[in-house]
């Protein structure tokens, strides 16, 4: 049995970030194996409640990644999602949840490198925070 590793749930939009993650793969760009991807059509599909649910389920971190502003395959899904993400981000902070549990990023289909970097960065941050306790059931 392997010793406990932080687990990061990543919601990736199908058109940009998921493709970016694939590109990281075809480029064989290595990154930490802590991330677990859930494919969604658009970052706009992600309801902040889902993110809360991840934290409640004991996710060490959550990453939501979509197309860069303006690139949304669905025109403005990421713009409208971004408003919700602002609210959630600020709410969690005010509520006293450690900064760095929940991350957001824009990764395009051409950014395999960036995806890998994001995952590295998120993993390091989350690892530094240690096992989550707040909100965990």
């Amino acid at each position: 049995m392997l010793d406990r590793e932080p687990k990061i749930v990543a919601f990736l939009c199908n058109w940009c970030s998921y493709a970016g993650a694939d590109l990281a793969g075809t480029g064989r760009i290595q990154y930490p194996p802590n991330v677990r991807v859930i494919r969604v059509p658009c970052s706009g599909r992600v309801d902040p409640l889902m993110i809360l649910k991840c934290l409640q389920r004991g996710a060490d971190g959550v990453l939501v990644s979509g197309c860069h502003p303006g690139d949304c395959h669905y025109i403005a899904g990421n713009y409208l999602a971004r408003r919700k993400f602002v609210l959630l981000d600020k709410l969690l902070d005010f509520f006293g949840i450690e900064k760095g549990r929940v991350h957001f990023s824009w990764v395009s289909a051409a950014e395999g490198e960036k995806f890998a970097d994001v995952v590295k960065q998120v993993t390091e941050t989350v690892r530094a925070l240690g096992k989550p306790t707040k909100l965990v059931r």
Partner: protein, 333 residues
Amino acid sequence: MNKMTGSAMGEDTRGAIQEGIRNSAARMLESGEIDVFIGYEDGTLPLRTTPVFITRPEDAERLVWGPMCENNLTCYLPKFQGTVGVVVKGCDVRTLVNLILENQISRDKVKIVGVPCTGIIDRDRVGKALGTDRIINNAKVIERSLMLEGDGFEVEMEIRDVLASSCEVCRYPVPVVYDVLIGDESMAKDGKDPEAGYLEVEQFAELQPDARFSFFAQEIEGCIQCYACRQACPLCYCLECFADRQSPKWISRWRGLSDKMLFHLGRVLHVAGRCVDCGACRRACPVGIDLRLLTKNMEKVVKDSFEYESGLDIGGLPLLATYRREDPDDFIL
């Protein structure tokens, strides 16, 4: 829009307003403009008034006005059948504006009787001021003070010392929209400047995250999930609250802290950009959870991030129905 000014700041302006409300209710009912008039009547307990639904002009006499008229009556309006008149304070009308924006009631079906608000009394504060377990048998409002008598005591306190916390920082005491405005705007306590309202929030934000979290943990621990906060909120009109969904199960049957927190976080997210800080949730909570702190902070976030204030623009769009390219992006990797 006609304005009825109470008999010019005379002996008892409240009495005048009360008269004004009764008259316009009676008039509207007689003229058939409305089927029902929703206002306040005396309650069964000291310091309490209670919502009343008047359908006959003669019953308009039951209507009262005063700093004990705490309920936000717009919570009865979503999808209201027929035409309705309603008494609203500065905050109440903003929730009404949201209900109109959100297609819960059409403007032409509601006659808005606005009253410039001087703030309402927080019963818990009175209780605290009085000391635990004192029984108040009777409470009267005279001018700017509150007369209390109970088991062997008579106390007078300044109303402004026992105002609801939301009223203390109220920025829009005068209804922004109305059909009838009763009383003189100058009678309303002057709106606080924006920042004053966020002092509490800002001070709290100064604390360490852990301190903030354990504060909320303590507060929310006591939640019995009676959902009075939700039911009292005019904007919580979902037919089935996310907290009640069987599938997906956002909130488990375990009434543990985690699930209670999820409910309250979810609630705050759902009223974000809509909440007008009327304080109804806070007053409804039987265990006295400080629900305003989260919503007030959210109000600030919305204002700072999107320059958006809820319930002021009857022609506007809901916060989450739109976006701007220049919305905050710095938190995104």
